[in-house]
C-alpha cells in the first residue's frame, strides 16, 4: 500500500487560518505557499473576533492530499493557531468587488438597470464614470463583470473570498480533517 493515492480531483478549496497578529506573519504564510509550490487563487486577511488574532481566508487549487499538506505546513508556522477547511455546502462565502465603469449619460440608465438586477450598488458617480460595489460569491461577481465589460471597465478591484461556517459552529471550534 505504499503507492500514492490516485489523484483525487483538483478543485477550489477554502481554508480559514487563524494566526497571532505578529509582524511578519503574513509574509510567513505567503512565503510558504510560494515555496511549497501551492497554487493560491486568493488570500484575504483581517481582524477576527479575538483581539491580536488575525483571520485569513485562502482559496487554493488542490486535491485532498495537497490540501492536507497545505494545512499541516500551515500548522508548522509558529504563529498559526488554527486551520480549518470550509465547504460551500455548510458555509457562506462572499467576495466584494469595486468596478469603475465607463458611463456617459446616454448609458447610465442601462447600467443602473444591470446594477439593480444584481442587487449591486452605485457608490460614486462622475461625469462619464461610475463606481459599482458588488458583494456575492465569485460567480455572481464574475457575471456582473462580464455584463459590464461592453460598457468599458476602467478599473477593477476584488477582495477575494471570505468565508464563515453556517450555524453556531466556528472556525476556531473545528480543526482541519475533522
Amino acid at each position: 500500500m505504499s503507492l500514492p493515492p490516485p489523484d483525487s480531483t483538483f478543485s477550489r478549496r477554502t481554508l480559514v487560518v487563524l494566526m497571532e497578529d505578529k509582524p511578519g506573519v503574513l509574509s510567513h504564510v505567503s512565503n510558504l505557499f510560494r515555496r511549497r509550490n501551492y497554487n493560491i487563487e486568493s488570500l484575504t486577511v483581517g481582524h477576527s473576533e479575538t483581539q491580536d488574532i488575525s483571520r485569513m481566508t485562502v482559496v487554493v487549487h488542490a486535491n485532498d492530499a495537497m490540501l492536507e499538506q497545505v494545512a499541516k505546513q500551515l500548522y508548522k508556522l509558529i504563529n498559526v493557531t488554527k486551520v480549518s477547511e470550509v465547504n460551500t455546502d455548510d458555509a457562506v462565502m462572499r467576495e466584494l468587488a469595486l468596478i469603475k465603469v465607463h458611463a456617459p449619460s446616454a448609458q447610465r440608465a442601462e447600467i443602473k438597470q444591470v446594477v439593480d438586477i444584481f442587487r449591486a450598488q452605485i457608490i460614486d458617480v462622475a461625469l462619464d464614470s461610475m463606481v459599482i460595489e458588488i458583494t456575492g460569491d465569485e460567480s455572481k461577481v464574475e457575471s456582473l463583470i462580464s455584463i459590464l465589460k461592453p460598457f468599458g471597465i476602467k478599473e477593477l478591484t476584488r477582495t477575494g473570498r471570505v468565508a464563515m461556517i453556517r450555524g453556531s459552529l466556528t472556525a476556531n471550534g473545528t480543526r482541519f480533517g475533522s
Binding site: M1, P4, A65, Q69, Q73, K76
Partner: protein, 562 residues
C-alpha cells in the same frame, strides 16, 4: 537589574545553559562583543560565518544541546545562510544571532544592511527581528524553546544595534506562551495498539530508523523492539547508529547507496515500521515503486512529514522514545527464521562482492575508512562531508556509539565536515573526532584549519583525495558519456598546507601506508591531516540510478574469492 540589550542577550544565553558560541565579530555586533568577556561563555572565533553556522550545528548534533552562532549584519548574516539551511534540513537545534543596523536606518539600504529575517524565513523554524530591547529576553527564551522541541531546527534572532545598547530593567521570562506551537509527544494509544497488531501478524516486517530516534535518545528502546520481535533494522544515512551497526539485526543504511541486501529487504517486506525518518527521495528512490508489498506504519513527531511523499497506512504522531515505550509491552516475541534466513543469504552474497577484497596496491577509499573503523573500534565521532567520501564512510564505518555520525544529509552541503567537526570537538572533548572529506569539499572551508590550530582541537582529518568532485565524476561516467565537465580539480599539497598552519600531516600514496598513518593519527593527542591519494576514478557501489526502484541497483563487480 537595569541592563542594556547586549548584556540581556548574554544573561539569557547563560540562563539557557549555553557554554560555547561560534562567531565572528563586526560593526553591527560590537556592543554584544563588548560585553562578551564578562560572561562565562567560550567564544570560538571562526574564519567565515558559514563555518560558524556549521560549527553550531555540529556542536548541537554532538551534544544534543542547542548550538549558537553569532554574526554581524549584511554579509555576516548572509554567510550564515548555507549553514542555517543545512541545520533546517537535518532538524538540528540552532539559534543564530545576527546584528542589524539601527532601527532608524532600517529599510534605507544602509551600510551592511540586509533583510536577514526575510531571507531566512523559509530556512528557519522561526525568526525574530528585535527593534525594541523590551522584546529581546522573551525572543531568546522562545527561540531556545522552539529550536529544541518538537521537530528541532534553527531559529534566527536579528537584533538592531540600538536595541543592543538601549537599557531596560531585565527580567527573565518564567515561561513561554505559544498558542500555535504545541508539539505532540505521546502517540495515540489506539494507533499504537493497531501498530502492535500489525507487527505481531507480519511475516516479513522491517524497521526503518532515522535521525528522529537519535534526537529522542530512543536507541535502547529501538534495539529492544528489534530484538524482542526479531525485526531487522535498516537506517537512513542520518539514522546510522540508532542501533549498534554490529548488531546481527542491523542491515545498515538503505537507499541509493544502501547495501543490496538492505534494499532487497525493503522491497520484499510486508510491513515497514518507520520511525523518525521522512522517506527522503535518496532513501525511497521513485516513490511509486517503493516497498510495493508493504503496509507502512510511520512514526514521526512532525505531522507534516506523514504522507508527504509516501502513502502511509497507519500514522502515529509522537516522540520516538515515547511511542516505542508505549509500543514495547504490546509487541510479542516472534520467531521469523524464514525471513531472517532469506536476508542472511542476501547478505552473504553481498559480502562476496565487497570492494575490500579487491587485489590492488592502490589506496582504496573503502580500505581507508575500514582502517579508521578498526583503529577506533567504531566508537569515534565521525564527521563526513558530502559525496563519495560520505557514502564510503556510511558503508564501511559501522558505528557502535549512538550519534557517532555527523553529516549533512538533507541539504548535502559540501564543506560541512571540517567546521561541523570543530563544533563537535568543542562540545565533546571526551570523544575522538574524525573528519572524512573529499579534496573538493575540504577546499570549500579549509580556512578553518586556522580555527583548529587556534583552539588546539585534536581533530583527525582524512582527505580522500582523488582530484575530482568524485560523485559528480561518477555520474558523468555512468550517465553523461564520461564527459568530465567541470569535475577535475587541481589541488594543493595538503600536507604542506597543514604544516603551514602548524598541524601535523602525512601524505599516503600506497596501500601499505594506510594503517600506520591512521594509527599515528589515532595515537596523537593533537590534530592531524592525512592526504590519502586514492584511486582517482573509483566508484561508489551499489548505486540505484535515479528513478529506478530501490532494488534495481548497479552492484559491485563480483570478485574472485580471496
Amino acid at each position: 537589574m537595569r541592563l542594556n540589550g547586549a548584556q540581556i542577550l548574554w544573561e539569557c544565553l547563560v540562563r539557557e545553559g549555553v557554554d560555547t558560541v561560534f562567531g565572528i565579530t563586526g560593526g553591527a555586533v560590537l556592543p554584544i562583543y563588548h560585553e562578551l568577556p564578562n560572561y562565562p561563555i567560550r567564544h570560538i572565533t571562526m574564519r567565515h560565518e558559514q563555518a560558524c553556522a556549521h560549527a553550531a550545528d555540529g556542536y548541537a548534533r554532538a551534544t544534543g544541546k542547542v548550538g549558537v552562532c553569532l554574526a554581524t549584519s549584511g554579509p555576516g548574516a548572509t554567510n550564515l545562510v548555507t549553514g542555517i539551511a543545512t541545520a533546517m534540513m537535518d532538524s538540528s537545534p540552532m539559534v543564530a544571532i545576527t546584528g542589524q543596523v539601527a532601527t532608524n536606518a532600517l529599510g534605507t539600504d544602509a551600510f551592511q544592511e540586509v533583510d536577514i529575517t526575510g531571507i531566512t524565513m523559509p530556512i528557519t523554524k522561526h525568526n525574530y527581528l528585535i527593534t525594541d530591547v523590551a522584546d529581546l529576553a522573551l525572543a531568546v527564551r522562545e527561540a531556545f524553546h522552539i529550536a529544541s522541541t518538537g521537530h528541532p531546527g534553527p531559529v534566527l534572532i536579528d537584533i538592531a544595534k540600538d536595541a543592543q545598547t538601549a537599557e531596560i530593567e531585565f527580567e527573565y521570562p518564567d515561561y513561554v506562551s505559544l498558542p500555535g506551537y504545541k508539539p505532540h509527544t505521546r502517540g495515540n494509544p489506539r494507533q499504537i495498539k493497531q501498530a502492535a497488531d500489525m507487527i505481531n501478524t507480519a511475516q516479513r516486517p522491517l524497521i526503518i530508523a532515522g535521525r528522529g530516534v537519535l534526537v529522542a535518545g530512543a536507541q535502547q528502546e529501538l534495539c529492544e523492539l528489534a530484538t524482542k520481535a526479531h525485526i531487522p533494522v535498516s537506517t537512513t544515512l542520518l539514522g546510522k547508529s540508532a542501533i549498534p551497526e554490529t548488531h546481527p539485526l542491523c542491515l545498515g543504511m538503505g537507499g541509493m547507496h544502501g547495501e543490496a541486501f538492505a534494499n532487497y529487504a525493503l522491497q520484499q517486506c510486508d510491513l515497514i515500521f518507520a520511525v523518525g525518518m521522512r522517506f527522503d527521495d535518496r532513501y525511497t528512490s521513485a516513490a511509486g515503486t517503493f516497498a510495493p508489498n508493504a503496509k507502512i506504519v510511520h512514526v514521526d513527531i512532525d505531522p507534516a512529514e506523514i504522507a508527504k511523499r509516501i502513502r502511509v497506512d497507519l500514522p502515529i504522531v509522537g516522540d520516538a522514545k515515547n511511542v516505542l515505550r508505549q509500543l514495547l509491552p504490546l509487541v510479542e516475541e516472534r520467531d521469523l527464521a524464514d525471513w531472517l534466513g532469506q536476508i542472511d543469504s542476501w547478505r552473504a552474497e553481498t559480502r562476496d562482492r565487497d570492494a575490500l577484497w579487491q587485489e590492488t596496491d592502490e589506496v582504496l577509499p573503502q580500505y581507508v575508512v575500514f582502517n579508521i573503523w578498526e583503529a577506533t573500534r567504531g566508537e569515534a565521532l565521525m564527521v563526513s562531508d558530502v559525496g563519495q567520501n560520505q557514502m564510503w564512510e556510511a558503508q564501511y564505518y559501522r558505528h557502535v556509539r549512538p550519534g557517532g555520525l555527523i553529516s549533512s544529509g538533507g541539504l548535502g552541503t559540501m564543506g560541512f565536515a571540517l567546521p561541523a567537526a570543530i563544533g563537535a570537538a568543542a562540545g565533546r572533548p571526551d570523544c575522538q573526532v574524525w573528519v572524512v572529506v573529499g579534496d573538493g569539499g575540504f577546499q570549500m572551508t579549509l580556512q578553518e584549519l586556522a580555527t583548529v590550530m587556534q583552539e588546539r582541537l585534536p581533530i583527525k582529518i582524512a582527505i580522500l583525495n582523488n582530484g575530482f568532485l568524485g560523485m559528480v565524476r561518477q555520474w558523468q561516467e555512468m550517465f553523461f558519456q564520461k564527459n568530465y565537465s567541470g569535475s577535475p580539480l587541481l589541488g594543493p599539497d595538503f600536507a604542506k598546507l597543514a604544516e603551514a598552519y602548524g598541524i601535523a600531516a602525512a601524505t599516503i600514496e600506497s596501500k601499505e601506508g594506510v594503517a600506520a598513518a591512521v594509527k599515528a593519527a589515532y595515537d596523537s593527542d593533537g590534530p592531524m591531516v592525512i592526504d590519502f591519494r586514492i584511486e582517482r576514478e573509483h566508484n561508489v557501489f551499489p548505486i540505484v540510478p535515479v528513478g529506478h526502484p530501490i532494488d534495481q541497483m548497479i552492484r559491485r563487480p563480483k570478485q574472485t574469492q580471496p
